[in-house]
């Protein structure tokens, strides 16, 4: 048997195995943490998992708590102790097989690796936990055991406490690690595999900080402060002496301030977002390194969304970014990006989604840095079939409308390969 035969047989067996998994009926029944706690069906909060429906948003805005939240707590006889009677845990898991036009290109050496097909299984394994701890305080947390091939690494993403009525003022306060972009559209509840790329490019996903929110009349206000350097930085505090145990997450005293004002105009929700903060400049070959200069960063965003009879949801986001002195300290770099999407959920079994991502590197174009790669122009079409409320099969096609760049400078930067892909797989929460 030739090596080709062995590999071909392996592909064929894998194909048969995956095909059989989809054809055979799935009987698993499982309920995530809130459904378990309140003995409610997933459909109470999701029009199609993980997209939230109107009540799901109401539940989230009410600190993820129903008035009868104490029903499932341990009866200790102590009114001031409300321990969940079972561990409030849930798991989300995703596994995909993907055919992709894409390469891994080292920006400096140009060394290239390529794979046109990939079994991304598991793609994601996540442990989630959340529960009300008092009449006003709720916690939420999840850790990722494996994501995008990072086996063996555990990453904590969302992890926060929230008080929904600070000093009886009606002001909610959230402290911990969260996504700045959650003020607009939550990436975790999208139906597509493809991400809301403008959020990632603008660097407004996970950070550590404080977020206040308050509704006043027809307006919702959110105002937050974050370290501004993501969730990776971690510094030893050694200035008081030797072997001090504590660490700091932020590397400077400056914080990023951000906020959003939102309102409903008829059936349309509209929001205006703003952020002002700092980020380290980019330097080194292809701009791969972080420099020592703190540079100003400003973002203005507009988000708009709505739904038609709870079956069709649409949303759009625009972000204008201004990065002062980010590469050359005497230059300002402006760029913009956004996305536009719609989910159509005709019945309890199917959901169809379209997501269009666009970003223009603008002033960062032709800088011979990796930031030329902010350019994106792609459409993702997704079909989700729900075997169960909490188990779906996903098929997605991504079409890349950008032309392929040729190498223009010293480094291998820009859109050097197309990003078409087709994938299918499973997404489950239990």
């Amino acid at each position: 048997m030739t090596p080709f035969d062995v590999k071909f047989r392996r592909y064929t067996l894998s194909f048969v195995f995956l095909f059989a998994q989809l054809v055979l009926p799935l009987t698993a029944e499982a309920i995530p943490v809130f459904a378990r706690k309140y003995s409610m069906s997933c459909v109470a909060c999701h029009s199609a998992f993980p997209r939230l429906n109107q009540f799901g948003e109401h539940f989230r805005d009410n600190n993820m708590r129903l008035p009868n939240w104490r029903d499932n707590t341990v009866q200790t006889g102590d009114e001031r102790l409300a321990l969940p009677s079972t561990a409030p845990l849930a798991i989300r898991a995703q596994a995909y097989a993907q055919a992709r036009e894409g390469k891994s290109i080292d920006p400096v050496s140009g060394e290239t690796e390529q794979a046109s097909s990939d079994f991304q299984s598991p793609y994601l394994v996540k442990l989630l936990s959340s529960a009300p701890l008092s009449d006003h305080i709720t916690y939420y947390f999840y850790g990722i055991f494996a994501e995008k091939g990072n086996n063996g690494e555990t990453t904590i993403e969302d992890a926060w406490f929230r008080h929904d009525d600070l000093f009886g003022s009606g002001v909610g306060m959230q402290l911990g690690q969260f996504q700045i972009s959650d003020l607009m559209f939550a990436r975790e509840t999208r139906l597509s595999f493809q991400d809301f790329m403008a959020y990632r490019m603008a660097g407004i996903t996970y950070d550590r900080g404080l977020l206040f929110d308050r509704s006043l009349g027809k307006f919702d206000f959110g105002l937050g402060l974050v370290n501004g350097n993501g969730i990776d930085e971690n510094f030893n505090i050694n200035s008081p002496g030797y072997r001090r145990p504590d660490k700091m997450f932020d590397n400077n005293s400056d914080k990023s301030i951000f906020g959003r004002i939102g309102t409903d105009i008829g059936p349309v929700s509209l929001g205006l977002f703003g952020l002002s903060g700092e980020q380290a400049n980019a330097t080194g070959p292809a701009g791969l390194d972080s420099g020592n200069r703190d540079t100003d960063k400003r973002i203005v965003g507009v988000d708009i969304s709505g739904d038609v009879q709870g079956k069709t949801y649409w949303y759009a986001q625009l972000l204008w970014n201004s990065w002062d002195g980010f590469l050359d300290k005497n230059e300002d770099y402006n760029w913009w990006g956004g996305f536009l999407g719609a989910d159509y959920i005709p019945n309890d079994f199917w959901a169809f989604s379209a997501l269009y991502n666009y970003a223009d590197a603008d002033d960062l174009s032709n800088t011979d840095t990796i930031y030329e790669g902010i350019d994106i122009n792609s459409l993702s079409l997704t079909a989700s079939y729900y075997f169960m409320r909490n188990v779906k099969g996903v098929a997605e096609v991504n079409v890349d409308f950008l032309g392929k760049d040729s190498r223009k400078g010293t480094y291998y930067t820009g859109h050097l390969t197309k990003e078409h892909y087709i994938l299918f797989g499973f997404d489950a929460a239990f």
């Binding site: 095909f19 409610m40 009868n68």
Partner: protein, 188 residues
Amino acid sequence: MGMPSQHSRRIQLAGVLSILLATIGAMLSVTTGNAAELKVQRIRIESTPAGAAVNTIVGEQGVTPLSITERDIYPNTYPDAKVDLYGKVVISKSGCKTVTRRVTLNEIKTGLDIRLDCTESTPVVKLDAGGKPQAIRKPEQSATSATEALSERRLRQLKVLNELLDDKLISAEEEQSIRKRIFERLNQ
């Protein structure tokens, strides 16, 4: 890196084709196979006595015994003012105490069998947003001084009014306004 050999190109092609075929096959299988076997979750509701009206957040569903879908109690959209009725069924019958009940996951499977209390003297009870019993005023309690003077007809009107309020078919303001008119007529 050298040029890919003919064998490796064939392997790449096989991998891509496998994934394409699996995607198409999966979509075909669920549309023609499993989908036919699956049913939308329905909830059976019965009452004793039968013939009670069943209301949910989306409106009147009919009279018991009947079956409704999960989406009749968990709609994706609803008027904000009705949020307290989300996930609940309201079962009412003339002469009986109205029951408002949050439907649990287990009840979706087993169905609901509600025994209505049709004793006239039973105090009317409704559930608050958290599903906890909340005493509400009966017409005769809120008009103690006028009770003796009420005619049978007026009493019936007040009972119907109370049911309409319980069923959320009228607002509290509307109920107060109509109640006031009934008493005004009584005093004329």
